[in-house]
Each structure stands twice: as structure tokens, then as C-alpha cells.
């Protein structure tokens, strides 16, 4: 048995009043002078036992009436029966990540999950509150609403081409439930439970909140998918160069899975090649030289039950090699990277005065440069004053100072360039802004909340990219990683304005907009203005994101689904508890789901029979308390106080 208004049960304490009066206050009744006491004594003696029994019965009736009022006010109900339930706050975590686009038989997995969610909502009451979290679209706000509101949201849910992070979704669900005033809370997890949807285990993100998990879908592990398309080994080809496009197929997910994947390479709407790949294999298709301009293409495999991961996009700008100059001593790693890029004809080295981009060591050459500058600090802190002086002379509003913090940290930042992802920093200087910059600078990378890579405009309107660490192995892991070459290529090419791939992002990620872009055109053709954060969110579509400045093309970014979405292997049921929370109710049958949700299940509310019973009790009590004919004196209003003469 449960109570919808449990606080009202405190009213049951009121039964103490009649009990107290019965036990202790009866001697305080009126004292009436009555000479005919001898008649009364005889009557009273004969009926004393009956009177005591009747008084006890009256007490019981009154106590019972109070308890019934309390029970009615608390809205008691029998638990575990009927279709009604106590008001419940429920978060429906609906996994609409790419993998839920899998078609099993003739039914899409997401539609199966939506049907279950809708059945849940059908059984809801007006007092329930729901949030809908779409695991594949975490950027969509979850707004509390009624079952009707949530039903509409569920029906409008479509498969996202982004990945789903169920751990993050469950943590978010718990935070939402914390805002609810309802006593009964639960999470409904409707997902294919891919193991890759749980990036972290042992976190128990739902904690003690009950999670009803749908495990009834038919598990599928075999999937044909393309997992990557890489152009030029990560360095997009320059104008007039041939480019190798490497395509990789998803590895086999079960023994004996040797079915080859036929695929085609389409570039600028023309098929440039075809191949057949066994699971887990790579193939390389060479593209003919391109002229200057953007090259967009995709690799397309034959469709299977999960269509969304059968195509992967790429885009790059075919451009002339940028003219680069190194000024000062950038260090052996930067110098080597420039040499490699020159040898690969991805840069042309020249004098500072003629260069489009200057790699400036310790601020050298800034006074003579007319192009953009990649400014590298010195390894020796004693050279910082010279650097700061040159920065000030060039109108760069930053100073570098020795850092008081130490230790290893990972580069972070919403606008973190792709080549810097995963780079660790061992030593750095503190960057401090000075003066009044002509345009707000932009932090591209941070270490422990402090800027590490900053871009902006100097006093002469030239672009600069200032790093807080020298490019040597003692300061950062970048020089000794393969990302060094890509970083220098990115800095001298894409960043400096020569164009190129702006980075590698998967669908769902927040993408930094190029500095010149004013809006972005999504693959669906939707144009979205770029806001002050300079980030593009809601990238749930795979395809080309075209950055524009007015009508001018700035950049094209190809977004592909995360590889993990193609791995359909579900999580081991034994790991559910650690991956989700301590209270899990896994349901694998449709009918069982209806009984599992709304755990504060109740039978019909009992307030009306309680009230009815209470009314009957009170009638009985009144009848018993006033049994016997009406005193004629009372009709005349004569007895009250008249007999109190003896008091």
C-alpha cells in the first residue's frame, strides 16, 4: 500500500485527542445538581458495563473515523495492482544515435524504441512529469513536460548520424530528476546498448535512481561499414598533385565474417574508382591532380541494414603551396617539419619579407613580415624580455612570463585544431594580455584553463598564432608525434588562410568556425548563422558543412559518424550495473515493460471508500452518542445551565 500524499499521514496523530479525552478528561464534564439521583443510580448500576462498552465503542468509532479521514487525505492506494501509479518523474533516454537506424526485418530499431516510449506515455497520468533525452542529439534541450508534450517529442525523434554517449545521458537524466519535486523518480533507457555507447565503465552514472532498461531488441553484430577515408595520409594534396585516398572497412565482428564490401569513390559527383574490401581491410585509390579549389567526395559502400555508416565524406582544398619563411631559430623540430613539407612541395621557403607565413622564433622577423605569423617562444626563459619587447613593437597584445605551475597536462579547447588533439604539455609560459587589442583574440588551445595557443590580429592587421610553449620535446609531446607535421602544415596552410581541411571532427561534435565565416550551411542545406561563441553545434548530420562569409566560400568541412557507432556489439549484461547504476530493471519482453515502468504502481485510490466509511462511522457515532428520545426540556432550551446550581 502506498500514499500519494504521505505527509498527510501525520494527521493520524490526531487520534491521540479522543484517546486522551477518553482516558483523562472525562472527569471534566459538567456537574449537575440532580435530586433524583436515586433513580439514576439504579439505572446506572444496571447498565454500567454496557455504558463502558458503548463508550469504548464510541472511542473506537471516533479513532477509526480519524484514521479514515487521514487515509483519505493521504490518498492511500494498494500497491502493485491496477494500471494507475503514483505521480512519477521520469526521464526517457531514447537512443537515436546512428546505430538505431539499423533495420531488423522491416522495422527500424529506433521505431521499435519509440513505440515502447509511446506505450510508456500512454500509461502516464496527468500528474507525471517527463523529460526526453535523445542520446544521439545531446545538444537538444530536455524540457520537462506532460505525457502529451513528450509524446510529440518522441514522435518527432529521428535517427541522428552522431554517436550516443549513454553515460553522459544518464548523468544528465539524474541531474534533471534532481530538479523534480515528485517523490517517485525513474529513468527509462531505450537503447540498443552498444558497448561503445558506454565510454566509461564503473561510474554508475544513474546512482540509486531506478533505471528500467529495454534489452528486448534482437542483437545484431554483423555490419558492413566504412570506418575511415583519409586523403593524402592526412596532408591534403596541393594544386597539381595526385592524391591517394585510403579507405578502410570495418573489421570483422565475428569469426567467419569474410563478406567483401563493394565500394565506390565519388569525387565532385564523379566516380573516381571502385574496389571491394574484405572486413577490416584498407584500399587506396589514387585521384588525378586537381586545380585550385575545393574537392568534395565520398566513399560509398553497398547498403546494408545500417545505411548511415556506409558512406564517408572527405573535403580538401587543392591549393598552391604556401610561401613560408622561418625567422630566428624555431628549433630543430619545427625546422625539420618545414624541411619535410618543402621536400613534399607543400610549402615553399623564402625570405621573411616575401613570405605569406612567417614561423617566428622568439618574435624574430615580425618587424619585417607582411603576412601571418606563427610565433614560437624560446626554450630559454631569459630570452622572454626580448620576445615581449618584439611582441609589443609588433602590436601583439600579449606578454609571456615564466609559469609558476608545472606538471603534465593535455591540450583542450572548444576550438582545438585537429592536429593538436591529444598533445600533452610539459612546460609552458603564462600568456598575459596587455593593452587594448584591435580585435578580440581567440583561444584555440588551453592548458589547465590557461591559454596555450592564441590567434588574433596585431597592430598592423596581420594575423598571428602565438604558442605558450616552444616546440621541443621538453615542453610538449607535439614535436615527437606524427601530429607535428600536420600541425605545421595546418598552421602554414589552413590557418594562415591558404585553405585546407580545418580539422577532423565526427558528427555530433562542436566544430569551431573559421575566423572569416559568418554562417554555415549544413548538409541538409540549412544555413545557420555563427554566433559569438564561433562554434557550430548540433552537427547531427554526416556530410559537408560549408562555411561562408556572406556569399563567399570560406571552408568546407566533412563530418563523418564516429567509428564506434558501426560496432553493434552490445554491452555484456553482466556489466550493466556498473555501466548504468545500482538499481537496474532489465526488461526483454514487451508486456513486461508495461509492468516494469512506473514502479510506484498502485491500485485504484481508496479515498472515496474511506470517506464513505468515515461518513457511515460518523453517522453511527452520532446515533450512538445521542441514542434515546429527545429531552423535552432541551426543546424548550431550558436545561442548559439551569441545573448547574450545585456547581
Amino acid at each position: 500500500m502506498g500514499a500519494l500524499s504521505p505527509l498527510f499521514l501525520l494527521a493520524a496523530l490526531s487520534i491521540g485527542v479522543p484517546i486522551y479525552l477518553h482516558l483523562f478528561q472525562r472527569q471534566e464534564t459538567r456537574r449537575l445538581s440532580f435530586p433524583a439521583l436515586r433513580y439514576l443510580e439504579r439505572t446506572e448500576r444496571e447498565h454500567a458495563r454496557q455504558i463502558r462498552f458503548r463508550q469504548f465503542l464510541l472511542l473506537m468509532l471516533r479513532v477509526l473515523a480519524l484514521l479514515l479521514i487521514t487515509a483519505a487525505g493521504a490518498r492511500l492506494f494498494f500497491a502493485g495492482r491496477g494500471s494507475a501509479h503514483a505521480p512519477t518523474a521520469a526521464v526517457i533516454v531514447l537512443d537515436n544515435s546512428l546505430s538505431t537506424g539499423l533495420v531488423v526485418g522491416e522495422v527500424r530499431l529506433l521505431d521499435e524504441l519509440k513505440a515502447i516510449a509511446l506505450k510508456t506515455l500512454d500509461a502516464a497520468s496527468d500528474e507525471d512529469r517527463f523529460w526526453l533525452i535523445r542520446a544521439g542529439e545531446p545538444w537538444v534541450p530536455a524540457i520537462p513536460g506532460t505525457a502529451t508534450d513528450t509524446r510529440q517529442a518522441v514522435e518527432e525523434t529521428e535517427v541522428s548520424e552522431a554517436g550516443g554517449d549513454l553515460v553522459a545521458a544518464l548523468e544528465r537524466a539524474v541531474r534533471l530528476l534532481d530538479t523534480s519535486t515528485l517523490d517517485h523518480r525513474e529513468i527509462h533507457l531505450l537503447s540498443d546498448l552498444q558497448s561503445t555507447s558506454f565510454p566509461a565503465m564503473d561510474l554508475e552514472p544513474a546512482g540509486d535512481v531506478p533505471v528500467i532498461v529495454w534489452t528486448g531488441h534482437e542483437p545484431r553484430t554483423i555490419n558492413r561499414a566504412l570506418t575511415s577515408v583519409v586523403v593524402g595520409g592526412g596532408l591534403p594534396p596541393l594544386e597539381g598533385q595526385r592524391a591517394a585516398v585510403t579507405i578502410e572497412a570495418l573489421e570483422p565482428t565475428s569469426e567467419g565474417d569474410t563478406l567483401h564490401v563493394p565500394l565506390r569513390l565519388v569525387v565532385n559527383e564523379r566516380i573516381r574508382g571502385a574496389a571491394t574490401l574484405p572486413p577490416g581491410a584498407q584500399t587506396t585509390i589514387t585521384l588525378p591532380p586537381s586545380g585550385t579549389g575545393w574537392v568534395q567526395g565520398y566513399a560509398d559502400a553497398d547498403p546494408d541494414d545500417l545505411r548511415a555508416d556506409d558512406r564517408r565524406f572527405f573535403a580538401f582544398r587543392s591549393r598552391p603551396a604556401p610561401v613560408v619563411a622561418a625567422s630566428g631559430d624555431p628549433g630543430v623540430f619545427a625546422a625539420e617539419a618545414l624541411a619535410v613539407l618543402e621536400e613534399a612541395e607543400r610549402v615553399r621557403l623564402t625570405d621573411v619579407s616575401a613570405a605569406d607565413v612567417v614561423v617566428s622564433a622568439n618574435g624574430a622577423g615580425l618587424d619585417r613580415s607582411t603576412g601571418a605569423a606563427l610565433i614560437l617562444p624560446p626554450s630559454d626563459p631569459t630570452l622572454l624580455p626580448a620576445l615581449n619587447r618584439r611582441l609589443a613593437d609588433a602590436g601583439v597584445p600579449w606578454r609571456l612570463e615564466p609559469s609558476v605551475t608545472s606538471g603534465e597536462a593535455l591540450l583542450e579547447g572548444r576550438a582545438l585544431p585537429g592536429p593538436l588533439a591529444g598533445v600533452r604539455i610539459f612546460a609552458r609560459f603564462d600568456l598575459t594580455i596587455v593593452g587594448d587589442p584591435p580585435a578580440p583574440p581567440r583561444v584555440l588551445a588551453e592548458v589547465d584553463g590557461r591559454p596555450w595557443a592564441i590567434e588574433g590580429l596585431d597592430g598592423n592587421g596581420r594575423r598571428y598564432l602565438l604558442l605558450a610553449s616552444p616546440l621541443d620535446a621538453r615542453a610538449t609531446s607535439l614535436p615527437v608525434s606524427t601530429a607535428m607535421l600536420r600541425f605545421v602544415d595546418w598552421a602554414t596552410g589552413e590557418w594562415a588562410g591558404a585553405g585546407g581541411a580545418p580539422g577532423e571532427y565526427v558528427t555530433g561534435a562542436s566544430v569551431p568556425a573559421p575566423a572569416a565565416a559568418t554562417h554555415v550551411r549544413f548538409p541538409s542545406g540549412l544555413d545557420v548563422e555563427i554566433d559569438g561563441t564561433r562554434m557550430v553545434r548540433g552537427t547531427g548530420e554526416a556530410g559537408f558543412y560549408t562555411f561562408l562569409a556572406g556569399d563567399s566560400l570560406v571552408s568546407v568541412l566533412a563530418l563523418n559518424p564516429p567509428r564506434g557507432e558501426s560496432l553493434l556489439t552490445p554491452i555484456d549484461p553482466a556489466d550493466l550495473e556498473t555501466a548504468i547504476g545500482r538499481e537496474i530493471i532489465d526488461v526483454d519482453r514487451d508486456g513486461a515493460w508495461d509492468r516494469a515502468v512506473y514502479r510506484a504502481r498502485q491500485g485504484p485510490e481508496l479515498w472515496w471508500p474511506f470517506l464513505l466509511a468515515m461518513m457511515l462511522l460518523l453517522l453511527g457515532e452520532a446515533s450512538m452518542a445521542t441514542s434515546g428520545p429527545v429531552n423535552p426540556l432541551s426543546r424548550r432550551g431550558a436545561t442548559e445551565g439551569a441545573s448547574d446550581g450545585g456547581d
Binding site: 464534564t29 445538581s33 433524583a36 439521583l37 439504579r42 426540556l633 442548559e640 439551569a642
Partner: protein, 309 residues
């Protein structure tokens, strides 16, 4: 107490008024006169004219009456023959015994409902007036545990004032031990006569019965007026109350609703017992509700008087 109220009009017979209205008229003598006048007027108009033979001053002529005693003045007024009566004609001595115990002063609704003592005082005064008018000798005594006031039985107009004065001064006090008082009276009343007892009979039944039989044994005619307040027949409207006896101060906690019907039955049985116990001994017993007109009680007296001859 000054008698300042205006007597009721002839058609408002005082003997038919309820005691509460009667009490508004004035003092005991005035009320007694009004009650008696009204009562006698009712007798004259009633089909029972034969009762007028009891009238002390005049009575209807009967065959064999001495013509010398015919009141010719009344004949002129009423065209009927009346004969004059003489005080010497009767030798009845009546003793009015008033119970003045504490319980007699009780009223279930003071200010509205007269007390039993008030009713007894005025009924006794009215009866005394009738007795005296028909030439009987009237005496009175008041008692509770003992006799507290006594007036010798005499006849004549002055006796009424004497009796009325003593009746007026009575106050309810003390307990009731009727047996002792009645035995005492039996000893004092040397000549046989009519003993009229005004009491609420909230006494020891056996002892009181013994005393009444003792009176009867001494040759007295006994008439008992059992005064009952309506509030004694029905319990008050309280759901639960502590009742106490003003005489003994005994208390009893009672759930009124629980015993109302049983109590009513107990009272009825108690009254029946008194009637059943007194009648075999030739003792007349009349229940007098103190909210009823006095004429009913006076008629009871007349019935008794008629039997005495």
C-alpha cells in the same frame, strides 16, 4: 412579600394557569385566593354541582333542609335555593405536612420552572383556604430531618393568614428523614383528621412507608401529593455529565444518551411502586407535576374530601 399584582380576569382562571404564570401574580395569599376562586368558579360551572355541598358558606338546597337557612338574597340573584352553612357543622381537622428538604428547592429550570417547594407552598395554601372556607380546622407542619415549623390546627379566617405566613417563610434545607418527622406528627396529632403530605418522596422508601402506615394506623386519612419536577422525569440534554444529589452530595458520572430510556423507565417504575404500595393501606397517592395547573391537585383533594363526608 407585597402583593402588588393585579388579579387575573374572571375568564383567566388562576387554577388553570401554569405555575410559572401563576408565580407572576404575587404573594402566596393572593395566589391561593385566585386559585381557589377560579377553582370554585369552575366547580359551579361544572356538571358536578353536587360538590357544592362541600362549600363552607352556602350550598344548594336539598329536600329536608331547614327552610330557615335558605339564603333568599342568593335566591334573588340566581333564582336558586341555597342554604347557609355554619362552621360548627364540620369537625374535620386537616394537617398539611410540607417536605422542606433540600431536594424540594430544586428546579430543573430556575426562573422558568417553579421549584417543588414553591408548588407545595401554594398548593397547600390553596387547600388550606378551601378547608377553612368550608369550616374545617387546618394546621400545618414543615419537616426535613425533623419538624422545623408547626401550626396548630384551627378554623376561622385568621387561621389562613397564619398558615400562609408560615408557608411563605419556608425554605428548602437539610436532608429528608420522613419517617421520624411523620412519626413525630402522628404522636402530636391527638385528634384524627386528614393528613396531606406534600413531598418529592426522594426518601427511604421502606421507612417512609412505615411512617405513613403508622399515621394511617392512628386513624388519620392520608393523602400524599408526590411532587415531580419535569426535569426529574427526563434527563437533561447533556451527552455526559456528573450528577450530584444536593442533599447527600453523592455523585454519579453518567452518559445521558446511554441511559435516557432506561432512566425514564426507572422513574415510571418508581412512581408505580409508590402507588402500588400506598393504595392497599388506604393512602391516596397523587402525582403532581410541578408544571401542571393546581386545579388538578385540588380536584384530587376534593375527591378525597368527598369520600370523607
Amino acid at each position: 412579600m407585597a402583593e402588588t399584582k393585579t388579579p387575573p380576569r374572571s375568564r383567566d382562571r388562576a387554577d388553570l394557569l401554569d405555575p410559572a404564570s401563576l408565580a407572576q401574580l404575587g404573594g402566596i395569599e393572593l395566589i391561593a385566593r385566585e386559585v381557589v376562586e377560579g377553582f370554585l368558579m369552575g366547580l359551579h360551572r361544572s356538571p358536578h354541582r353536587g360538590f357544592s355541598a362541600e362549600y363552607a358558606e352556602l350550598r344548594a338546597y336539598q329536600a329536608g333542609d331547614d327552610l330557615r337557612y335558605i339564603d333568599w338574597r342568593m335566591y334573588g340573584r340566581s333564582d336558586r335555593y341555597y342554604v347557609k352553612q355554619f362552621e360548627e357543622e364540620t369537625s374535620l381537622r386537616a394537617y398539611l405536612l410540607i417536605d422542606v428538604s433540600e431536594s424540594m428547592g430544586w428546579s430543573s429550570n430556575p426562573g422558568v420552572q417553579v421549584s417543588k417547594l414553591w408548588y407545595a407552598q401554594h398548593l397547600a395554601a390553596s387547600m388550606a383556604l378551601i378547608l377553612l372556607r368550608q369550616g374545617d380546622a387546618v394546621g400545618m407542619a414543615a419537616f426535613h430531618d425533623r419538624v422545623v415549623k408547626r401550626v396548630q390546627a384551627r378554623g376561622g379566617r385568621r387561621q389562613f393568614h397564619e398558615v400562609a405566613r408560615h408557608l411563605r417563610d419556608l425554605e428548602a434545607e437539610g436532608g429528608t428523614s420522613a419517617e421520624g418527622a411523620l412519626r413525630d406528627m402522628a404522636v402530636r396529632l391527638r385528634r384524627r383528621g386528614l393528613v396531606v403530605l406534600f413531598t418529592d418522596l426522594l426518601v427511604s422508601r421502606e421507612e417512609t412507608l412505615t411512617a405513613l402506615k403508622y399515621l394511617r394506623h392512628h386513624g388519620h386519612e392520608v393523602l400524599v401529593f408526590h411532587l415531580v419536577d419535569p426535569g426529574e422525569r427526563e434527563l437533561p440534554a447533556a451527552s455526559e455529565a456528573r450528577f450530584f444529589d444536593p442533599e447527600t452530595n453523592d455523585e454519579l458520572l453518567v452518559s445521558v444518551a446511554d441511559i435516557r430510556a432506561e432512566y425514564r423507565e426507572a422513574v415510571r417504575e418508581a412512581l408505580d411502586e409508590w402507588r402500588r404500595d400506598l393504595r392497599p393501606h388506604g393512602i391516596d397517592y397523587e402525582i403532581v407535576d410541578t408544571d401542571s395547573p393546581m386545579s388538578m391537585s385540588l380536584r384530587a383533594y376534593l375527591r378525597k374530601r368527598e369520600r370523607l363526608g
